[in-house]
Subunit: 348 residues, 4 copies
């Protein structure tokens, strides 16, 4: 059986494993204060074109989300999110566990619009009894969204301007950031994100690393406090060097860095799979330009595919079809994709 159900089913890119082995007996101070982390920070600052950014490394996405939210918000503030946002649906109430309500807004395509954010914000403050409801303190966007869609630079800019005009933090969850930045049609860069967001992170776990998310802060003050929050939330890795080392391997080399190469590869693999489905007249649920594709499949089609392949059931679409996710990654081999495409072409 060959898995296409997620982008974290293999280990790490071999260069990372090699670097781990090569440096295994070096002695380093713990908790992210070592030279590897410092170098990775500098590399990220260079990508972002801002040498003043704060950078901290965490192990996983939920950890990053909840630590950022809790570190930045006051106890009576909540975070605005698409109702399909990862923090709202798939983190076992982690933000709430730190005391912060997710103010979940319904969306048509999994992406928050400026209009919705503005409406939510103004509804709050225009309510004469606003103290009886949670104060919006932050906007959370996933880039790409949970369905693979991306935001344009114009959209992010407008949301950022609104946020900063009204005292809301803008936080971008970049668990799959690479796949988004390298998507066809994406006009957003790391340097745009650094400029428009208060905090965002560069996801490593799903883009070539064993694990790791690099959280980037615009405010030095915020960044300083964040290390307390990391420790308090159990997210301060003793051998922090492991995180710095991985991001150094992924991001060194500027635009030609491994991170972008791997993301482009995964996107290309996903585009092939999509084409294979479309050639058979099977429509996509949504027009995703990234590493996740969502064909609408009948139970019969799923059964046929299920003899050789493991995709992810995503939800019921209509009485006949379900939404099914096919996910590629840095580790997806062209052989497996070609095999899948042939199988689709012949068997469906």
């Amino acid at each position: 059986m060959i898995r296409f159900d997620s982008d974290y089913i293999e280990g790490a890119h071999p260069e990372i494993l090699k670097a781990l082995a090569d440096t295994n007996f070096e002695q380093h101070v713990g908790y992210g204060c070592d030279d590897y982390c410092e170098r990775a920070r500098d590399i990220i600052r260079e990508h972002c074109g801002d040498s003043t950014l704060g950078v901290q490394f965490l192990v996983g996405g939920t950890q990053a989300n909840v630590t950022v939210i809790d570190a930045l918000l006051y106890s009576y503030q909540g975070v605005i999110s698409a109702d399909s946002g990862h923090i709202n649906v798939h983190e076992t109430g982690a933000p709430e566990a730190t005391g912060h309500k997710v103010i979940a807004l319904p969306t048509t395509d999994g992406r928050l619009s400026l209009e919705q954010i503005a409406e939510c914000y103004h509804n709050h403050w225009n309510d004469h009894s606003h103290e009886h409801t949670v104060q919006p303190g932050m906007v959370y966007l996933s880039c790409p969204a949970e369905n693979g869609l991306i935001y344009t630079k114009a959209e992010l800019t407008a949301i950022s301007e609104f946020c900063h005009k009204h005292g809301l933090y803008l936080f971008v969850d970049g668990a799959r950031l690479g796949y988004g930045l390298c998507a066809e049609g994406c006009d957003v860069t790391l340097s745009d994100l650094a400029r428009l967001c208060d905090v965002f992170y560069i996801g490593g776990t799903k883009v070539g690393a064993l694990f790791g998310e690099a959280v980037v802060f615009k405010s030095a003050e915020m960044h300083r406090s964040f290390r307390y929050a990391i420790k308090q939330h159990g997210g301060m890795l003793a051998k922090g060097r492991l995180l710095g080392l991985q991001f150094e391997q992924l991001l060194k080399g500027g635009d030609e860095c491994l991170y972008f190469k791997l993301a482009r590869h995964a996107n290309a693999m996903a585009a092939k799979i999509r084409k294979a489905f479309e050639s058979k007249g099977i429509p996509m649920w949504i027009d995703s330009p990234t590493n996740m594709q969502f064909p609408l499949l009948t139970k019969e089609q799923q059964e046929i595919l299920g003899k050789k392949y493991i995709p992810e059931f995503w939800g019921k679409y209509d009485n006949e079809r379900d939404v099914v996710r096919f996910c590629t990654s840095w580790a997806t081999t062209p052989e497996n994709v070609d095999g899948l495409c042939e199988y689709i072409s012949i068997m469906l």
Copy 2:
């Protein structure tokens, strides 16, 4: 400079790195539901002589501590700890951040006694206004303690009996468990811990792994709920296989497993260092049988050592001397220890 300041300054035992590389492209389901984790669970159950135990793998010690405490206690309950306990002094208030007060008791040697625990418990319930104080719900012991001391089987048995008679959970923090179990004079085994505790964990980070703590539960019910708590606290590693794989490598092979070998090695190295100090008439702060030794050193002695070696300043002892920690680990080389001993012998 050669570091002796902690037991997490290098990477992982080479056999672990090799296993990582060998299996890197295998595809596995995430979140600790893979075959590696299952095998590691079985190996741990065998060590403990109890096939019904629940086992979950977390990345680090603070994460393990806070997740266990929060998962098991009701909101109005607190955890009894030595005031020198890691949860009380070095986790940025992580238990409190989940709502649970650490009921910190002063100790003479960093270890809780049955008498103290009983006094604390009875003082609470004998107070007619006990509802105005936090209800003790759990006893937390570090084994070995933060100063390297261990508990005897008789001590643990007595504490366990008291806890279970009075409805308190007994939780053992085993971040350095290997060094304790393999200490000279230790009469406690994994199977004793599994029998006496409600929850304990086998620390990997400090004993040969890149990272990882294996949390062992006696109650199946508790264990089931624990996975929610792990996710909620941001501790559910996407590529959970990495944890299972490491514990499989460390613990396979019964009494001759890598974990015990590495711990014995570190303890032997620490004993050598101790002897070197004692040969020079330098007393130890405390009689630790494990991988941490605490000579009392003058500022002058520290300066001399500091030219070649990095130990950890532990605290002021008296007007002339400080407590200084020398820590060995699975990665400490005999060459470095011999060099240090010679340096002590000649230079101090």
Copy 3:
């Protein structure tokens, strides 16, 4: 200006004030352990026909809600509520502030149905990755609901059976309980609630008291722990006697107690107001049998009414009309209601 915007705009029933004055210099132990509270507990147990019930007195509704939720649930559990439920919309995220997500379900009429609850529960447990979502631990119903509607005994019984079959607590928010129990067509009694719920409360603040909610527990164990939770949440009134005294005054006298008399009075006043609107062809938003009525009014009609009366704007209904709440209470005078009805009749 005469207010009809809420049911907590006046003080307390004069008999309560008289009792306060008469007993002002009595000396009593604090925190709800006095004779007044004990007598009030017994009176409530008699109303409920169960001498084993636990009863504690709190000052307000949000306090009662959040203390119950936090005291009963484990950290990874959430509470199922109508999305219009008070805990979800009007308590500044109080449940989330204690770590518990409100699992908000959309409703057509502000009341949860058995089907929804069952679907939510089974969706959770049928999801193979259920640990990534909040575990349902409790069902929260407001009786009457925020829009004045009530549940039938058959509905409550079915929900109760489902909850207890599946290990969910059933918690009824009775901030306006009196108005519900005394509504025309209501077949639910205090003794039904005590039998069907794990916890419910009898609201005093809105039904004749200065303040106060009597929280009733079926389980003695739960009840014992609850006093810790009260204190921890800052809800333990020093002069607890004030709460016992009020509930004694309200509830003594069995079916002819003041509490029911006041509720019946308010409901009758509300019915009059409703009739006045309907006589003018103005429809109600919802068919409420309790002390809150919601006519659909144009801006012009609101303006005319606003010259003499203060109702509560509830929300936009369509392009022409808004939902407006008229609220009566134990303190509403027939004179004011007659005046309002006449004004409606003449002016609208």
Copy 4:
């Protein structure tokens, strides 16, 4: 039996009850936005000589403490307190329940000194791994302290200067503030507190009110946010007018207000009791100038007193004597005190 065990065993000063009765049927908007609260705010501002202060009214002391702490601190910050401070010992871990560790410092007399605060603060920031410990964010002082002692203006000024130089909030718990301000030798005024503290409160519950604490804020920004925190913590009284009305009655009239008169009366009563004990050669545990006196009594003496009087057992002093608390209040009658003194004089 006559009680001297606490200062909240009776109701409220009759003028408060009268005002409640006189205004019972007035209609007012809820939640502290009514005219009574506004007038009370103005009266407090006048006492403090600062028309810009923010004032909010809460029902009780634990509620006030925990709401202030949680509203002001970031999640990774804790509050410095004497280890005998009410928040540390008698609030069921309420601050911790909101996520904030109490950094408890041992004291000789229940009062924090500038030296201790400074040492605690500098120890934190001088520790190279300070992120592993809770960041001090606030200093909490009880005035008077739990043992009745007061701070001088010089002490408060020095602490205030240190706090504001180092970014710590200074918060004064004034649950018994009246008794402190009116103590012989006290050189602190309300206007000093308003100037020196970031937040403090004027306790009503123990000084003449049925209940109520008036929380005073120097920063308007802080004050605005505080209303969210009140609601979130379940502390927003629906009939907020009850709080405003009480503080208006207590504080109107400037230096000749009821609040001060009642406090002076209680202090005088306490001084009489003290003198009675001392006349018999019975020493005090501590030199309290306020309404609480702590004679050291043998078991035999306690038994004799216990035939007619109920004081509060405070703790064991030595093998022969206990510390026993005698508490007076606004409601203590000269007759009862004279009776007690005579009884002491004759029977002990």
